[in-house]
Symmetry: C2
Subunit: 138 residues, 2 copies
């Protein structure tokens, strides 16, 4: 059995694609519009053989509810500081800054919690992250 | 950037491990108990290099809420009928039976929607699945 993808419903397809590609460095693998059903399916990931994030955009938008049963999606980065700098430059709040050079949390444009982990050993502790406080929840 | 895992909170760790291992055929990769924080982290997947499902079990259990912003986790199976038979034999309701030999939906013990897809071409349409009706929602 192969794990294929996690699906998230979005009312913000462009912002979400931007978050996962420009922000997290995934590739936009496909975007298909279903005229009759009035929805689009968007797949993001390293490549078609890696597990992906599927975004479902219903054109007739409605409000979705958040629950805490589903926790987060996690990604591993080669340089957690660079990813957080890039996200911050895009206006994404770094809710749990990488004070320890190891772990950070943000939210995607749909409010889904995203964990970012440093590959291998933690990076040396570094400002401005080291003294940055937590914001909100994740 | 590498997608690592999707995290789900569970009050039913044993039932959940059983669902993902006996039901879906994933491997139990690790289970760590954190005495001081009173929680356990359980990782399931093909192997340590594949994306995983992380289960978080807080020993002081509380009720979690379901939202529809997060949609589902999807898996690809070599034989969708065998997986559905196995799940059914474990008492799991097949909410969207694989009538088309291609797609089925169930829920994990935590109420998380699970999509099961047939690898490659759809299997020939086959009873009892072909005439089995949908149940509930997913």
């Amino acid at each position: 059995m192969k794990y294929l993808h996690a699906m998230i419903r979005t009312n913000y397809p462009e912002e979400s694609i931007n978050f996962y590609t420009q922000g997290l460095g995934l590739n936009l693998l496909s975007k298909r519009d279903f005229e009759q059903g009035r929805f689009s399916l968007i797949f993001l990931g390293e490549d078609e053989n890696s597990p992906m994030i599927e975004l479902t955009h219903n054109w007739d938008e409605r409000e979705y509810s958040q629950g805490d049963q589903f926790g987060h999606l996690a990604f591993r980065s080669e340089n957690i500081y660079k990813v957080c700098e890039q996200l911050q430059s895009m206006g994404v709040a770094i809710l749990r800054p990488p004070r320890d050079g190891h772990m950070a949390f943000v939210k995607d444009p749909n409010g889904i919690s995203i964990e970012i982990l440093q590959q291998g050993e933690s990076l040396p502790v570094q400002e401005p992250w080291a003294s940055m406080e937590n914001q909100g929840s994740w």
